[in-house]
Protein backbone atom coordinates (compact mmCIF):
# COMPACT_ATOMS: atom_id res chain seq x y z
CA UNK A 1 0.00 0.00 0.00
CA UNK A 2 2.76 2.41 1.00
CA UNK A 3 4.85 1.27 -1.96
CA UNK A 4 1.99 2.03 -4.32
CA UNK A 5 1.80 5.57 -2.95
CA UNK A 6 5.54 6.13 -3.37
CA UNK A 7 5.32 4.90 -6.99
CA UNK A 8 2.77 7.63 -7.76
CA UNK A 9 4.59 10.38 -5.87
CA UNK A 10 6.08 11.78 -9.09
CA UNK A 11 2.64 13.19 -9.90
CA UNK A 12 2.78 15.32 -6.78
CA UNK A 13 6.28 16.43 -7.72
CA UNK A 14 5.08 17.67 -11.10
CA UNK A 15 2.01 19.34 -9.60
CA UNK A 16 4.22 21.27 -7.19
CA UNK A 17 5.67 23.14 -10.16
CA UNK A 18 2.20 24.33 -11.10
CA UNK A 19 2.01 26.35 -7.87
CA UNK A 20 4.06 29.32 -9.12
CA UNK A 21 2.23 29.12 -12.46
CA UNK A 22 -1.08 29.58 -10.66
CA UNK A 23 0.34 32.42 -8.59
CA UNK A 24 1.62 34.15 -11.73
CA UNK A 25 -1.74 33.77 -13.49
CA UNK A 26 -3.57 35.21 -10.49
CA UNK A 27 -1.28 38.21 -10.74
CA UNK A 28 -2.50 38.83 -14.29
CA UNK A 29 -5.92 39.74 -12.94
CA UNK A 30 -4.42 42.71 -11.17
CA UNK A 31 -3.19 45.74 -13.10
CA UNK A 32 0.44 45.32 -14.11
CA UNK A 33 2.23 46.31 -10.95
CA UNK A 34 5.98 46.40 -11.45
CA UNK A 35 8.94 47.52 -9.43
CA UNK A 36 10.62 50.83 -10.06
CA UNK A 37 13.35 49.26 -12.16
CA UNK A 38 11.00 47.36 -14.46
CA UNK A 39 9.97 48.21 -17.96
CA UNK A 40 6.27 47.81 -18.67
CA UNK A 41 4.87 45.58 -21.41
CA UNK A 42 4.69 46.65 -25.05
CA UNK A 43 1.58 45.44 -26.82
CA UNK A 44 -0.03 46.10 -30.16
CA UNK A 45 -3.56 46.19 -31.40
CA UNK A 46 -6.98 47.30 -30.28
CA UNK A 47 -7.67 43.99 -28.57
CA UNK A 48 -4.66 44.44 -26.29
CA UNK A 49 -5.92 47.91 -25.38
CA UNK A 50 -9.40 46.58 -24.66
CA UNK A 51 -8.11 43.80 -22.45
CA UNK A 52 -6.01 46.29 -20.46
CA UNK A 53 -9.05 48.51 -19.99
CA UNK A 54 -11.05 45.54 -18.78
CA UNK A 55 -9.48 45.75 -15.34
CA UNK A 56 -11.85 44.54 -12.65
CA UNK A 57 -9.84 45.51 -9.61
CA UNK A 58 -9.06 49.07 -10.75
CA UNK A 59 -10.73 52.11 -9.32
CA UNK A 60 -9.58 54.30 -12.20
CA UNK A 61 -8.19 53.81 -15.67
CA UNK A 62 -6.08 56.57 -17.24
CA UNK A 63 -5.48 56.41 -20.96
CA UNK A 64 -2.85 58.69 -22.42
CA UNK A 65 -2.77 59.09 -26.19
CA UNK A 66 0.57 60.06 -27.70
CA UNK A 67 2.96 59.67 -30.62
CA UNK A 68 6.71 59.83 -31.01
CA UNK A 69 6.48 62.87 -33.29
CA UNK A 70 4.78 64.84 -30.53
CA UNK A 71 7.43 66.39 -28.25
CA UNK A 72 4.93 67.45 -25.61
CA UNK A 73 3.72 63.86 -25.39
CA UNK A 74 7.22 62.54 -24.84
CA UNK A 75 7.79 65.10 -22.08
CA UNK A 76 4.69 64.18 -20.11
CA UNK A 77 4.93 60.37 -20.38
CA UNK A 78 7.48 60.05 -17.55
CA UNK A 79 5.34 62.32 -15.37
CA UNK A 80 2.29 60.13 -15.85
CA UNK A 81 4.42 57.07 -15.20
CA UNK A 82 5.52 58.52 -11.85
CA UNK A 83 1.89 58.98 -10.84
CA UNK A 84 1.17 55.41 -11.95
CA UNK A 85 4.02 53.92 -9.95
CA UNK A 86 2.94 55.73 -6.83
CA UNK A 87 -0.58 54.31 -6.87
CA UNK A 88 -0.48 50.53 -6.37
CA UNK A 89 -3.43 48.45 -7.50
CA UNK A 90 -6.02 51.19 -7.85
CA UNK A 91 -4.89 52.90 -10.99
CA UNK A 92 -4.52 51.32 -14.38
CA UNK A 93 -2.66 53.53 -16.81
CA UNK A 94 -2.08 52.82 -20.49
CA UNK A 95 0.06 54.81 -22.91
CA UNK A 96 -1.56 54.45 -26.35
CA UNK A 97 0.64 55.33 -29.30
CA UNK A 98 -1.54 56.56 -32.17
CA UNK A 99 -1.05 57.72 -35.76
CA UNK A 100 2.58 56.68 -35.54
CA UNK A 101 3.19 54.18 -38.32
CA UNK A 102 6.85 53.47 -37.50
CA UNK A 103 6.27 50.52 -35.16
CA UNK A 104 9.94 49.59 -34.91
CA UNK A 105 11.01 53.02 -33.77
CA UNK A 106 8.17 53.12 -31.23
CA UNK A 107 9.32 49.74 -29.99
CA UNK A 108 12.88 50.93 -29.63
CA UNK A 109 11.72 54.08 -27.86
CA UNK A 110 9.79 51.86 -25.45
CA UNK A 111 12.76 49.68 -24.61
CA UNK A 112 14.87 52.67 -23.67
CA UNK A 113 12.08 54.63 -22.01
CA UNK A 114 12.08 53.05 -18.56
CA UNK A 115 8.31 53.46 -18.44
CA UNK A 116 6.52 50.97 -16.23
CA UNK A 117 2.97 51.51 -17.47
CA UNK A 118 1.75 49.28 -20.28
CA UNK A 119 2.15 50.70 -23.76
CA UNK A 120 -0.09 49.84 -26.70
CA UNK A 121 0.67 50.72 -30.33
CA UNK A 122 -2.25 51.14 -32.69
CA UNK A 123 -2.02 51.09 -36.47
CA UNK A 124 -3.29 54.01 -38.51
CA UNK A 125 -6.63 52.28 -39.12
CA UNK A 126 -7.04 51.33 -35.47
CA UNK A 127 -6.15 54.89 -34.41
CA UNK A 128 -8.83 56.27 -36.69
CA UNK A 129 -11.32 53.77 -35.29
CA UNK A 130 -10.44 54.73 -31.71
CA UNK A 131 -10.84 58.40 -32.55
CA UNK A 132 -14.31 57.65 -33.85
CA UNK A 133 -15.30 55.47 -30.91
CA UNK A 134 -14.15 57.89 -28.26
CA UNK A 135 -14.79 61.07 -30.24
CA UNK A 136 -11.23 62.20 -29.70
CA UNK A 137 -9.86 65.60 -30.68
CA UNK A 138 -7.29 65.82 -33.46
CA UNK A 139 -4.78 66.90 -30.88
CA UNK A 140 -2.04 65.07 -29.04
CA UNK A 141 -1.37 64.46 -26.27
CA UNK A 142 -4.80 63.70 -24.92
CA UNK A 143 -5.65 61.98 -21.68
CA UNK A 144 -8.93 60.30 -20.84
CA UNK A 145 -9.85 59.10 -17.36
CA UNK A 146 -12.37 56.26 -16.90
CA UNK A 147 -13.94 54.96 -13.72
CA UNK A 148 -14.14 51.32 -12.65
CA UNK A 149 -17.19 50.72 -14.84
CA UNK A 150 -15.63 52.09 -18.02
CA UNK A 151 -17.52 55.41 -17.99
CA UNK A 152 -15.54 58.46 -18.94
CA UNK A 153 -14.87 60.80 -16.05
CA UNK A 154 -12.69 63.46 -17.63
CA UNK A 155 -10.60 64.24 -20.62
CA UNK A 156 -7.92 66.79 -21.29
CA UNK A 157 -6.16 67.80 -24.47
CA UNK A 158 -2.58 68.95 -24.42
CA UNK A 159 0.30 68.18 -22.11
CA UNK A 160 0.06 68.59 -18.37
CA UNK A 161 2.34 68.38 -15.36
CA UNK A 162 2.72 65.55 -12.86
CA UNK A 163 0.90 67.58 -10.21
CA UNK A 164 -2.00 67.96 -12.59
CA UNK A 165 -2.24 64.22 -13.21
CA UNK A 166 -1.84 63.41 -9.56
CA UNK A 167 -4.65 65.81 -8.80
CA UNK A 168 -6.71 64.29 -11.60
CA UNK A 169 -6.53 60.84 -10.11
CA UNK A 170 -6.96 62.12 -6.59
CA UNK A 171 -10.23 63.61 -7.71
CA UNK A 172 -9.24 67.20 -7.03
CA UNK A 173 -10.35 69.92 -9.44
CA UNK A 174 -7.24 71.48 -10.89
CA UNK A 175 -7.29 75.09 -12.01
CA UNK A 176 -6.72 75.80 -15.67
CA UNK A 177 -7.55 72.34 -16.94
CA UNK A 178 -9.11 73.69 -20.07
CA UNK A 179 -6.07 75.76 -20.92
CA UNK A 180 -2.59 74.44 -21.42
CA UNK A 181 -0.09 74.21 -18.61
CA UNK A 182 3.27 73.99 -20.33
CA UNK A 183 4.93 75.61 -23.33
CA UNK A 184 4.60 78.99 -24.93
CA UNK A 185 1.46 79.75 -26.88
CA UNK A 186 3.07 79.67 -30.28
CA UNK A 187 2.29 77.73 -33.41
CA UNK A 188 5.15 75.70 -34.81
CA UNK A 189 5.02 73.57 -37.95
CA UNK A 190 7.52 70.94 -39.06
CA UNK A 191 7.34 70.46 -42.83
CA UNK A 192 8.89 67.31 -44.22
CA UNK A 193 9.53 66.63 -47.89
CA UNK A 194 11.74 67.20 -50.91
CA UNK A 195 11.96 70.66 -52.51
CA UNK A 196 11.33 69.13 -55.91
CA UNK A 197 7.86 68.02 -54.80
CA UNK A 198 5.01 70.46 -55.49
CA UNK A 199 2.92 69.01 -52.62
CA UNK A 200 5.74 69.86 -50.26
CA UNK A 201 5.96 73.40 -51.58
CA UNK A 202 2.21 73.90 -51.14
CA UNK A 203 2.38 72.65 -47.56
CA UNK A 204 5.37 74.87 -46.90
CA UNK A 205 3.68 78.03 -48.10
CA UNK A 206 0.52 77.28 -46.06
CA UNK A 207 2.67 76.61 -43.02
CA UNK A 208 4.53 79.90 -43.39
CA UNK A 209 1.20 81.69 -43.84
CA UNK A 210 -0.15 80.19 -40.59
CA UNK A 211 2.92 80.22 -38.39
CA UNK A 212 5.22 82.84 -39.88
CA UNK A 213 8.71 82.14 -41.14
CA UNK A 214 10.13 81.70 -37.64
CA UNK A 215 7.43 79.16 -36.79
CA UNK A 216 8.36 76.72 -39.53
CA UNK A 217 11.16 74.12 -39.62
CA UNK A 218 11.92 72.21 -42.80
CA UNK A 219 13.28 68.69 -43.21
CA UNK A 220 14.32 66.72 -46.27
CA UNK A 221 14.39 62.93 -45.75
CA UNK A 222 16.74 62.62 -48.73
CA UNK A 223 19.45 64.66 -47.04
CA UNK A 224 21.41 62.84 -44.35
CA UNK A 225 21.98 65.78 -42.03
CA UNK A 226 18.30 66.64 -42.20
CA UNK A 227 17.47 63.01 -41.63
CA UNK A 228 19.49 62.99 -38.43
CA UNK A 229 17.55 65.99 -37.19
CA UNK A 230 14.29 64.26 -38.08
CA UNK A 231 15.31 61.17 -36.13
CA UNK A 232 16.20 63.18 -33.07
CA UNK A 233 12.74 64.75 -33.11
CA UNK A 234 11.11 61.37 -33.86
CA UNK A 235 9.65 62.71 -37.08
CA UNK A 236 8.73 59.71 -39.23
CA UNK A 237 9.47 59.32 -42.94
CA UNK A 238 6.01 58.70 -44.33
CA UNK A 239 7.11 58.43 -47.94
CA UNK A 240 5.23 61.58 -48.89
CA UNK A 241 5.45 65.25 -47.90
CA UNK A 242 3.62 66.25 -44.72
CA UNK A 243 3.33 69.08 -42.23
CA UNK A 244 3.10 68.42 -38.50
CA UNK A 245 1.89 71.28 -36.32
CA UNK A 246 2.16 71.91 -32.59
CA UNK A 247 0.49 74.74 -30.71
CA UNK A 248 2.08 75.10 -27.31
CA UNK A 249 1.83 71.75 -25.59
CA UNK A 250 -0.66 70.23 -28.00
CA UNK A 251 0.25 68.63 -31.31
CA UNK A 252 -1.75 67.64 -34.35
CA UNK A 253 -1.19 64.59 -36.49
CA UNK A 254 0.84 64.89 -39.72
CA UNK A 255 -1.17 66.63 -42.44
CA UNK A 256 -0.68 65.60 -46.04
CA UNK A 257 -2.67 68.32 -47.70
CA UNK A 258 -3.04 72.03 -47.11
CA UNK A 259 -6.74 71.67 -46.23
CA UNK A 260 -5.85 69.09 -43.62
CA UNK A 261 -3.17 71.35 -42.22
CA UNK A 262 -5.59 74.27 -41.93
CA UNK A 263 -8.18 72.07 -40.20
CA UNK A 264 -5.67 70.74 -37.71
CA UNK A 265 -4.22 74.15 -36.90
CA UNK A 266 -7.75 75.45 -36.49
CA UNK A 267 -8.53 72.75 -33.93
CA UNK A 268 -5.24 73.30 -32.11
CA UNK A 269 -5.75 76.98 -31.63
CA UNK A 270 -9.30 76.52 -30.32
Amino acid sequence: MARGAVEKLWVLLVLVFLVPVVIAVMDWEKPQRLGRADLGPFLTGRRSLDSLLDCHSCRLVLVNLWATWCPSCMRELPEIDDVYRGMPDQLQAVAVCMDDPALESVRSYHSSSGLSMPMVWLSTEESAALRDDWDLPQVLPATVLFDAHGSELRRVAGARSREFFQGMVDGVEMAGDTGSATGPEALHVNVVGSRADSAYLALLSTAVELAGEEGVSVFDPGDSASRLRMDSLHLPDLGCPYAQACYGPACGRPARSTEELRTIVGELID
Partner: protein, 309 residues
Protein backbone atom coordinates in the same frame (compact mmCIF):
# COMPACT_ATOMS: atom_id res chain seq x y z
CA UNK B 1 27.93 -4.00 -5.06
CA UNK B 2 29.17 -1.02 -3.04
CA UNK B 3 32.63 0.24 -3.78
CA UNK B 4 32.75 -1.02 -7.34
CA UNK B 5 33.01 2.55 -8.58
CA UNK B 6 35.85 3.52 -6.25
CA UNK B 7 39.19 4.16 -7.88
CA UNK B 8 41.63 1.33 -7.49
CA UNK B 9 38.94 -1.31 -7.54
CA UNK B 10 37.82 -0.49 -11.11
CA UNK B 11 38.89 -2.76 -13.92
CA UNK B 12 41.33 -0.89 -16.19
CA UNK B 13 39.08 -0.35 -19.19
CA UNK B 14 36.21 0.90 -17.04
CA UNK B 15 38.49 3.36 -15.33
CA UNK B 16 39.79 4.62 -18.67
CA UNK B 17 36.27 5.01 -20.00
CA UNK B 18 35.27 6.88 -16.88
CA UNK B 19 38.23 9.25 -17.09
CA UNK B 20 37.67 9.80 -20.81
CA UNK B 21 34.03 10.63 -20.23
CA UNK B 22 34.85 13.00 -17.39
CA UNK B 23 37.43 14.71 -19.56
CA UNK B 24 34.92 15.21 -22.37
CA UNK B 25 32.36 16.57 -19.90
CA UNK B 26 34.87 19.09 -18.55
CA UNK B 27 36.09 20.15 -21.99
CA UNK B 28 32.46 20.61 -23.07
CA UNK B 29 31.81 22.73 -20.01
CA UNK B 30 34.76 24.96 -20.86
CA UNK B 31 33.90 25.12 -24.56
CA UNK B 32 30.35 26.31 -23.95
CA UNK B 33 31.51 28.98 -21.51
CA UNK B 34 34.22 30.83 -23.40
CA UNK B 35 32.67 34.23 -22.61
CA UNK B 36 34.38 34.39 -19.24
CA UNK B 37 34.35 38.19 -19.21
CA UNK B 38 30.58 37.97 -18.88
CA UNK B 39 30.95 36.77 -15.31
CA UNK B 40 32.79 39.98 -14.44
CA UNK B 41 30.68 42.41 -16.43
CA UNK B 42 27.31 40.76 -15.83
CA UNK B 43 26.63 40.93 -19.57
CA UNK B 44 25.12 38.09 -21.58
CA UNK B 45 26.95 37.20 -24.80
CA UNK B 46 24.92 37.95 -27.91
CA UNK B 47 27.23 36.90 -30.73
CA UNK B 48 26.42 34.63 -33.66
CA UNK B 49 27.14 31.42 -31.79
CA UNK B 50 24.10 32.20 -29.66
CA UNK B 51 21.96 31.10 -32.61
CA UNK B 52 23.09 27.56 -31.90
CA UNK B 53 22.03 25.39 -28.98
CA UNK B 54 24.26 23.45 -26.67
CA UNK B 55 23.34 19.74 -26.70
CA UNK B 56 22.48 19.85 -23.03
CA UNK B 57 20.97 21.99 -20.32
CA UNK B 58 22.85 25.29 -20.15
CA UNK B 59 21.10 28.62 -19.90
CA UNK B 60 21.23 31.20 -22.71
CA UNK B 61 21.35 33.84 -19.99
CA UNK B 62 24.43 32.44 -18.28
CA UNK B 63 26.88 35.37 -18.59
CA UNK B 64 29.72 33.10 -19.72
CA UNK B 65 27.69 30.96 -22.15
CA UNK B 66 28.43 31.23 -25.88
CA UNK B 67 25.53 28.98 -26.87
CA UNK B 68 21.76 28.92 -26.38
CA UNK B 69 19.64 26.37 -24.55
CA UNK B 70 17.58 24.04 -26.77
CA UNK B 71 14.65 24.11 -24.38
CA UNK B 72 14.79 27.89 -24.07
CA UNK B 73 14.87 28.30 -27.84
CA UNK B 74 11.97 25.92 -28.30
CA UNK B 75 9.78 27.67 -25.73
CA UNK B 76 10.70 31.07 -27.10
CA UNK B 77 9.50 30.24 -30.59
CA UNK B 78 6.31 28.41 -29.67
CA UNK B 79 5.23 31.06 -27.17
CA UNK B 80 5.55 33.93 -29.64
CA UNK B 81 2.30 35.64 -30.67
CA UNK B 82 0.84 34.29 -33.85
CA UNK B 83 2.73 31.03 -33.66
CA UNK B 84 -0.35 28.81 -33.46
CA UNK B 85 -2.01 30.60 -36.35
CA UNK B 86 1.27 30.35 -38.23
CA UNK B 87 1.36 26.58 -37.82
CA UNK B 88 -1.81 26.17 -39.79
CA UNK B 89 -0.71 28.55 -42.52
CA UNK B 90 2.83 27.19 -42.76
CA UNK B 91 4.47 30.44 -41.69
CA UNK B 92 8.19 30.96 -41.29
CA UNK B 93 8.02 30.74 -37.50
CA UNK B 94 6.35 27.37 -37.61
CA UNK B 95 9.14 26.14 -39.84
CA UNK B 96 11.69 27.52 -37.40
CA UNK B 97 10.21 25.57 -34.55
CA UNK B 98 10.18 22.40 -36.58
CA UNK B 99 13.85 23.12 -37.24
CA UNK B 100 14.58 23.57 -33.54
CA UNK B 101 12.62 20.44 -32.67
CA UNK B 102 14.47 18.55 -35.36
CA UNK B 103 17.78 19.81 -34.01
CA UNK B 104 16.79 18.70 -30.55
CA UNK B 105 15.52 15.30 -31.59
CA UNK B 106 18.11 14.37 -34.22
CA UNK B 107 20.93 13.35 -31.86
CA UNK B 108 18.30 11.39 -29.96
CA UNK B 109 17.40 9.39 -33.05
CA UNK B 110 21.06 8.62 -33.66
CA UNK B 111 22.30 7.69 -30.20
CA UNK B 112 19.59 8.50 -27.65
CA UNK B 113 20.59 10.57 -24.62
CA UNK B 114 24.32 10.31 -25.30
CA UNK B 115 24.80 14.07 -24.94
CA UNK B 116 23.50 13.79 -21.39
CA UNK B 117 26.49 11.60 -20.57
CA UNK B 118 29.19 13.55 -22.39
CA UNK B 119 28.10 17.19 -22.64
CA UNK B 120 25.37 18.30 -20.25
CA UNK B 121 26.91 20.38 -17.44
CA UNK B 122 24.04 19.83 -15.04
CA UNK B 123 24.39 16.08 -15.42
CA UNK B 124 28.09 16.44 -14.63
CA UNK B 125 27.26 18.41 -11.50
CA UNK B 126 24.83 15.78 -10.24
CA UNK B 127 27.37 13.00 -10.81
CA UNK B 128 30.02 14.89 -8.86
CA UNK B 129 27.62 15.58 -5.99
CA UNK B 130 26.74 11.89 -5.73
CA UNK B 131 30.35 11.18 -4.80
CA UNK B 132 29.77 12.99 -1.49
CA UNK B 133 29.51 10.25 1.13
CA UNK B 134 25.96 9.89 2.43
CA UNK B 135 23.20 7.36 2.82
CA UNK B 136 21.93 6.66 -0.66
CA UNK B 137 18.31 6.42 -1.83
CA UNK B 138 16.91 4.72 -4.90
CA UNK B 139 14.23 6.30 -7.06
CA UNK B 140 11.12 4.29 -8.05
CA UNK B 141 11.16 3.38 -11.73
CA UNK B 142 7.70 4.88 -12.23
CA UNK B 143 9.08 8.34 -11.49
CA UNK B 144 10.59 8.48 -14.97
CA UNK B 145 7.13 9.47 -16.26
CA UNK B 146 7.60 12.74 -14.42
CA UNK B 147 9.99 14.07 -17.01
CA UNK B 148 7.62 13.28 -19.87
CA UNK B 149 4.89 15.31 -18.16
CA UNK B 150 7.37 18.12 -17.43
CA UNK B 151 8.27 18.19 -21.14
CA UNK B 152 4.68 18.15 -22.38
CA UNK B 153 3.36 20.62 -19.85
CA UNK B 154 6.12 23.15 -19.14
CA UNK B 155 8.00 23.13 -22.43
CA UNK B 156 5.18 22.63 -24.93
CA UNK B 157 1.61 23.19 -23.72
CA UNK B 158 1.88 26.02 -21.20
CA UNK B 159 4.15 28.25 -23.33
CA UNK B 160 1.89 27.69 -26.32
CA UNK B 161 -1.49 28.18 -24.67
CA UNK B 162 -1.21 30.03 -21.37
CA UNK B 163 -1.26 33.73 -22.25
CA UNK B 164 -2.30 36.87 -20.36
CA UNK B 165 -4.44 38.07 -23.26
CA UNK B 166 -5.13 36.76 -26.76
CA UNK B 167 -2.49 37.97 -29.18
CA UNK B 168 0.18 38.43 -26.54
CA UNK B 169 3.25 36.27 -26.13
CA UNK B 170 3.32 33.26 -23.84
CA UNK B 171 6.02 32.54 -21.29
CA UNK B 172 8.84 30.02 -21.18
CA UNK B 173 7.35 28.24 -18.18
CA UNK B 174 10.06 25.64 -17.78
CA UNK B 175 12.69 28.36 -17.60
CA UNK B 176 10.50 30.51 -15.36
CA UNK B 177 9.45 28.08 -12.64
CA UNK B 178 11.59 24.95 -12.93
CA UNK B 179 15.03 25.03 -14.45
CA UNK B 180 17.65 24.64 -11.73
CA UNK B 181 20.51 24.94 -14.22
CA UNK B 182 19.31 28.39 -15.21
CA UNK B 183 19.15 29.45 -11.58
CA UNK B 184 22.65 28.19 -10.90
CA UNK B 185 24.40 29.51 -14.00
CA UNK B 186 22.33 32.59 -14.81
CA UNK B 187 20.12 33.63 -11.89
CA UNK B 188 22.68 33.43 -9.12
CA UNK B 189 25.60 34.97 -11.05
CA UNK B 190 23.40 37.91 -12.09
CA UNK B 191 22.08 38.34 -8.56
CA UNK B 192 25.61 38.22 -7.17
CA UNK B 193 26.73 40.68 -9.77
CA UNK B 194 24.43 43.55 -8.93
CA UNK B 195 21.97 42.40 -6.27
CA UNK B 196 18.67 43.04 -8.03
CA UNK B 197 19.34 45.74 -10.60
CA UNK B 198 19.28 43.58 -13.73
CA UNK B 199 17.30 40.66 -12.31
CA UNK B 200 14.16 40.98 -10.26
CA UNK B 201 14.82 39.14 -6.98
CA UNK B 202 11.18 38.42 -6.20
CA UNK B 203 9.07 35.38 -5.52
CA UNK B 204 10.15 33.41 -8.59
CA UNK B 205 13.83 33.91 -7.80
CA UNK B 206 13.27 32.59 -4.28
CA UNK B 207 11.16 29.70 -5.56
CA UNK B 208 13.72 28.62 -8.14
CA UNK B 209 16.58 28.98 -5.69
CA UNK B 210 14.80 26.66 -3.28
CA UNK B 211 14.17 24.17 -6.10
CA UNK B 212 17.84 24.29 -7.07
CA UNK B 213 19.04 23.67 -3.52
CA UNK B 214 16.62 20.75 -3.07
CA UNK B 215 17.72 19.17 -6.35
CA UNK B 216 21.39 19.57 -5.47
CA UNK B 217 20.78 17.92 -2.10
CA UNK B 218 18.82 15.14 -3.78
CA UNK B 219 21.77 14.59 -6.14
CA UNK B 220 23.92 13.71 -3.14
CA UNK B 221 21.66 10.86 -2.06
CA UNK B 222 20.35 9.65 -5.46
CA UNK B 223 21.93 9.20 -8.84
CA UNK B 224 21.14 11.98 -11.36
CA UNK B 225 17.66 12.63 -9.93
CA UNK B 226 16.87 15.65 -12.12
CA UNK B 227 17.81 13.77 -15.26
CA UNK B 228 15.65 10.79 -14.42
CA UNK B 229 12.59 12.50 -12.97
CA UNK B 230 12.34 16.08 -14.27
CA UNK B 231 14.50 16.87 -17.30
CA UNK B 232 12.44 17.56 -20.44
CA UNK B 233 15.53 17.27 -22.65
CA UNK B 234 16.09 13.81 -21.24
CA UNK B 235 12.46 13.04 -21.99
CA UNK B 236 12.84 14.07 -25.67
CA UNK B 237 16.14 12.29 -26.20
CA UNK B 238 15.32 9.26 -24.14
CA UNK B 239 12.08 8.67 -26.00
CA UNK B 240 13.83 9.12 -29.36
CA UNK B 241 16.51 6.77 -28.04
CA UNK B 242 14.05 3.90 -27.92
CA UNK B 243 14.16 3.80 -31.71
CA UNK B 244 17.64 5.21 -32.21
CA UNK B 245 20.20 3.97 -34.71
CA UNK B 246 22.68 3.03 -31.99
CA UNK B 247 21.24 1.02 -29.12
CA UNK B 248 22.30 -0.86 -26.04
CA UNK B 249 22.43 -4.62 -26.66
CA UNK B 250 22.77 -7.27 -23.98
CA UNK B 251 23.40 -10.76 -25.21
CA UNK B 252 22.69 -14.13 -23.66
CA UNK B 253 26.00 -14.40 -21.78
CA UNK B 254 24.61 -12.02 -19.13
CA UNK B 255 24.83 -13.53 -15.64
CA UNK B 256 22.65 -10.91 -13.91
CA UNK B 257 25.38 -9.89 -11.50
CA UNK B 258 24.13 -6.25 -11.46
CA UNK B 259 27.61 -4.75 -11.87
CA UNK B 260 26.19 -2.69 -14.72
CA UNK B 261 23.68 -1.17 -12.31
CA UNK B 262 26.39 -0.36 -9.76
CA UNK B 263 28.45 1.70 -12.20
CA UNK B 264 25.46 3.17 -14.00
CA UNK B 265 25.13 6.96 -13.50
CA UNK B 266 21.34 6.59 -13.69
CA UNK B 267 21.06 3.39 -11.67
CA UNK B 268 19.81 1.26 -14.53
CA UNK B 269 20.18 -2.52 -14.78
CA UNK B 270 20.63 -2.48 -18.54
CA UNK B 271 20.03 -6.21 -18.96
CA UNK B 272 16.50 -5.76 -17.56
CA UNK B 273 15.67 -2.75 -19.75
CA UNK B 274 18.01 -2.54 -22.73
CA UNK B 275 15.71 -0.11 -24.54
CA UNK B 276 15.26 2.12 -21.52
CA UNK B 277 14.71 5.80 -22.21
CA UNK B 278 16.73 6.53 -19.06
CA UNK B 279 19.99 5.12 -20.43
CA UNK B 280 22.43 7.92 -21.20
CA UNK B 281 24.82 5.77 -23.29
CA UNK B 282 27.83 6.59 -21.13
CA UNK B 283 29.40 3.23 -21.96
CA UNK B 284 30.58 2.42 -18.43
CA UNK B 285 28.46 -0.72 -18.06
CA UNK B 286 30.06 -2.05 -21.25
CA UNK B 287 33.45 -1.98 -19.53
CA UNK B 288 32.15 -3.11 -16.14
CA UNK B 289 30.46 -6.25 -17.39
CA UNK B 290 32.56 -9.26 -16.33
CA UNK B 291 31.30 -11.40 -19.24
CA UNK B 292 31.30 -8.69 -21.97
CA UNK B 293 27.60 -9.13 -22.60
CA UNK B 294 26.85 -5.47 -23.28
CA UNK B 295 27.45 -3.36 -26.39
CA UNK B 296 26.27 -0.11 -27.96
CA UNK B 297 25.82 -0.72 -31.65
CA UNK B 298 23.72 -0.23 -34.72
CA UNK B 299 23.44 -3.87 -35.60
CA UNK B 300 22.00 -6.64 -33.51
CA UNK B 301 24.79 -9.16 -32.73
CA UNK B 302 24.00 -12.76 -33.69
CA UNK B 303 23.90 -15.49 -31.09
CA UNK B 304 27.52 -16.48 -31.66
CA UNK B 305 28.53 -13.42 -29.71
CA UNK B 306 29.81 -11.33 -32.65
CA UNK B 307 29.68 -7.69 -31.93
CA UNK B 308 30.15 -4.40 -33.77
CA UNK B 309 30.41 -1.89 -30.98
Amino acid sequence: MPGMHRRGLMPGSLRRQHILRRAIQLVSLAAMNLHVSGLLTGRIFTGTSKLFCVPGLHCYSCPSSVLACPLGSLQSVISSPGFLAGLSTGSQQALIVLGVLGFILLPGFVAGSIACAYVCPFGLLQELLYRVPSPKLTIPRSWRYGRLVMALLFVLLLPMFLKPSPGSAGDPWFCKVVCPEGTLTAGWPMALHDGGKTLDLGFLFGWKSAILVLILLWSVVSKRPFCRVLCPLGAFWGTAGKVSLFRMRVDSSCIRCDRCKDVCPVDLAIYKHPDSASCIRCGECIRACPVDAISHSAKRPDHGGERNG
